[in-house]
Amino acid sequence: MKVAVLCGGRSHERAVSLRSGARVEEALGQLGHEAVLIDTGPDASRLLKEGGFDVAFIALHGRGGEDGTVQSLLELIGIPYTGSRGGPSEAAFDKARAKRIFSAADVPTPKFLTLTQTALEEFGAADALDEARDAIGFPLVVKPSRGGSAMGVRFVNDERSLPRALISAMSYDREVVVERHVTGRELAVAVLGSGATESVAGTVRVLPAVEIVPRNADWFDYESRYEHGETEFTCPPQEMSAELLERVSDVARRALEALDCSGLARVDLLLDDAGTPWVLEVAPVPGLTSTSIVPLACEAAGTTFEAVIEELLADAVAQGAGTSA
């Protein structure tokens, strides 16, 4: 097949996306496909239209790639694509929306509220920060609602540091999520959902959970994510009962189903001491760099990264056929 690998772009995660794209291109080559890397810029539509592609592989992270934009564009041009459909992708990428969906579906997610720059500047929302503090409590985490790779994420231990954390997070998105800081073991679960059927339920395959233990930072920050050797990944997590692992898988599956995501997604969770897996977010286009979790989970599941890529392509083509029918 002739495959357009969409990566790069102009989001803050451009650098990571270029690395994901290169990894996918390599895998496609090994599978015998013709891969064309597209740095997704102003000429992307023309290249897609003129390229004669059978399918597009979305390795575009962040805004434009995970928020439904490129998905809608591909539907417009009529090229089947990997991963979640536009709507679910958009919902997953927006943490505020996703967390509301989780809450409604009884998927455990840490208590949160959202705040926008507009509310602060136009409605004097600073006067309501006390209520926010009382509702969430310290320590808390401030995150850009739409953003990835932990950019702009700030931990806040006291009231004094809250305003600056809000300013930082709002640099990456004008809406932020203020979330209770759950302590526990950090887990990531790669989930493969087939979108070929009406509902993803029943066709979801959950890969073994990966535990993330950063070596230098006290959490999985940007540097830990993308530097070799900065983080220890254990798969499956050690000293975790089969029952607990099953619970984690179940919550990950339910998070994906609640969002109606398909293709390959990564669910980020924190497992607290009481054994509750809290879903932090679902990445609809997870990183596929050489330091990413997905390739590792594939291996632990007894399959290969290449086999999963092949599966995603087949599913994309099947879904594409479904759409046009």
């Binding site: 810029g41 540097e223 330091t291």
Partner: protein, 423 residues
């Protein structure tokens, strides 16, 4: 149960590689490669102004007249001809080097690497300016140096502060392996250490047996004011090693720089360079030689004069735009030359976060935090004026200013004043 580590070779790497990290900032910079972005982040000389036909002639003449030599290995210390050129350039700046004390290197950057690897064991102290040249940071990290910063002010590096640091170190039972400084048109600070301070620094180096690595890439790019003597020219005790480069006065693409150092140090650096790359490019050394000997050694001086006219105009455009568009409370020192201006914004602004916003407006700069190893510099930025036309510079500065105002508005709406404190 099994434990998997993503990098299968990880157990075999040296410890020092783990000190070298990627960063949010470096990856945000990936966006600046896009053509629509006005990048004030780089440090690129305007090589587009160099006469291409003339360059073609220089390159072709070497190929025709001395092709075999140009394609061959050369001595580790460099070709004799280019060393003679280096002596001329150093004389032009008021120094009298001994040609046998010079090694030609692969850009000035190689000197930073060779020096660090020659002098620093893990945990050894090195003194650097705060902010320091961002390109030296990986060299220090690679050897696991304990870098101590001496904060700069408008008059450059303050010897009294260096002395105080040496005293502090002595109390800790530590000795600094060397002091790294860019005294003229410092990168990224833009400041120049005054003559009075230079004289005292050289005295101090002699008194305290301190080795000084003087990095001097920019001093010939002077648009106004009088040249200040180099530390090397003031040093009579053999404490100053001197780093020079052709990157800014000719071309960074030729990768030709040099180090002039006391004989014993030079011997060690030579061994280290043999390990690194045997020798620098012979062809490029010959190209440098051709250009710097052309027209009786006058051609390159005319070129540098031309660059200074171009850069001076761009610097003026940048300063005017900053005055107009940056928020009150911004400070900067207008440099008399070089490639960079260092601006300090109101402390409510974190320039790494500001960059994330600015990139949405297709403009980039280097956040100040990248120039420190101790986490400071958060409200400062380095702005380059050599690589963009005056119009692009004005537009870029306007957009950064607009972004800074947005952040301050947001800070005010959160009850903070422009210093980031509570109103």
């Amino acid at each position: 149960m099994r434990r998997t580590i993503l990098d299968p070779y990880e157990d075999r790497y040296a410890r020092r590689v783990f000190g070298m990290r990627s960063s949010v900032m470096r990856d945000l910079m990936a966006i600046t490669q896009r053509p629509e972005v006005i990048s004030l982040a780089g440090g690129l000389p305007d090589t587009g102004a160099f006469d291409r036909e003339y360059l073609a002639t220089l390159v072709a003449d070497i190929a025709r007249d001395s092709g075999a030599q140009a394609l061959q290995y050369g001595p580790t210390e460099g070709t004799r001809a280019v060393i003679d050129v280096i002596v001329d350039v150093m004389r032009h700046e008021g120094m009298e080097p001994d040609p046998s004390n010079i090694i030609v290197t692969t850009g000035g950057q190689q000197v930073l690497d060779l020096f660090a690897r020659t002098f620093v064991d893990p945990g050894d102290v090195v003194i650097a300016e705060g902010p320091t040249y961002p390109g030296v940071v990986p060299c220090f990290n690679a050897v696991q140096a304990d870098v101590r910063h001496v904060p700069l002010d408008a008059d450059g590096l303050d010897p009294a502060k260096v002395e105080a640091l040496l005293d502090d170190l002595a109390r800790e039972g530590l000795t600094a392996k060397y002091l790294y400084t860019i005294p003229t048109f410092q990168n990224p600070g833009g400041c120049t250490t005054t003559l009075e301070r230079r004289i005292r620094l050289v005295e101090l180096a002699a008194e305290r047996d301190l080795i000084v690595l003087e990095d001097n890439p920019y001093s010939l790019l002077r648009f106004e004011g009088e040249p200040v003597p180099t530390l090397r020219s003031l040093d009579t005790h053999g404490r100053v090693a001197y780093l020079g480069t052709f990157s800014k006065i000719f071309s960074p693409g030729v990768r030709v720089g040099w180090v002039e150092a006391p004989t014993p140090i030079l011997a060690r650096l030579n061994l280290m360079k043999q390990a690194a790359d045997l020798c620098s490019s012979t062809y490029m050394q010959m190209l440098v030689t051709s250009f710097f000997t052309a027209d009786g050694g006058e051609a390159w001086k005319r070129w540098v004069s031309k660059l200074n006219v171009i850069y001076s105009e761009r610097l003026d455009a940048m300063c005017e735009a900053i005055d107009e568009h940056f928020p009150p409370g911004t400070s900067y020192t207008k440099p008399e030359g070089g490639l960079f201006l260092w601006a300090t914004l109101p402390t409510a602004i974190d320039t790494t976060d500001l960059l994330a916003r600015a990139l949405e407006k297709d403009v980039a700069f280097v956040p100040g935090a990248g120039a420190f190893l101790d986490g400071t510099g958060g409200n400062a930025m380095r702005l380059n004026y050599s690589a963009m036309t005056p119009d692009r510079i004005r537009e870029g500065i306007r957009r950064i200013g607009e972004t800074a105002h947005e952040v301050l508005d947001l800070a005010r709406s959160l009850g903070l004043d422009d210093t980031g404190g509570r109103k």
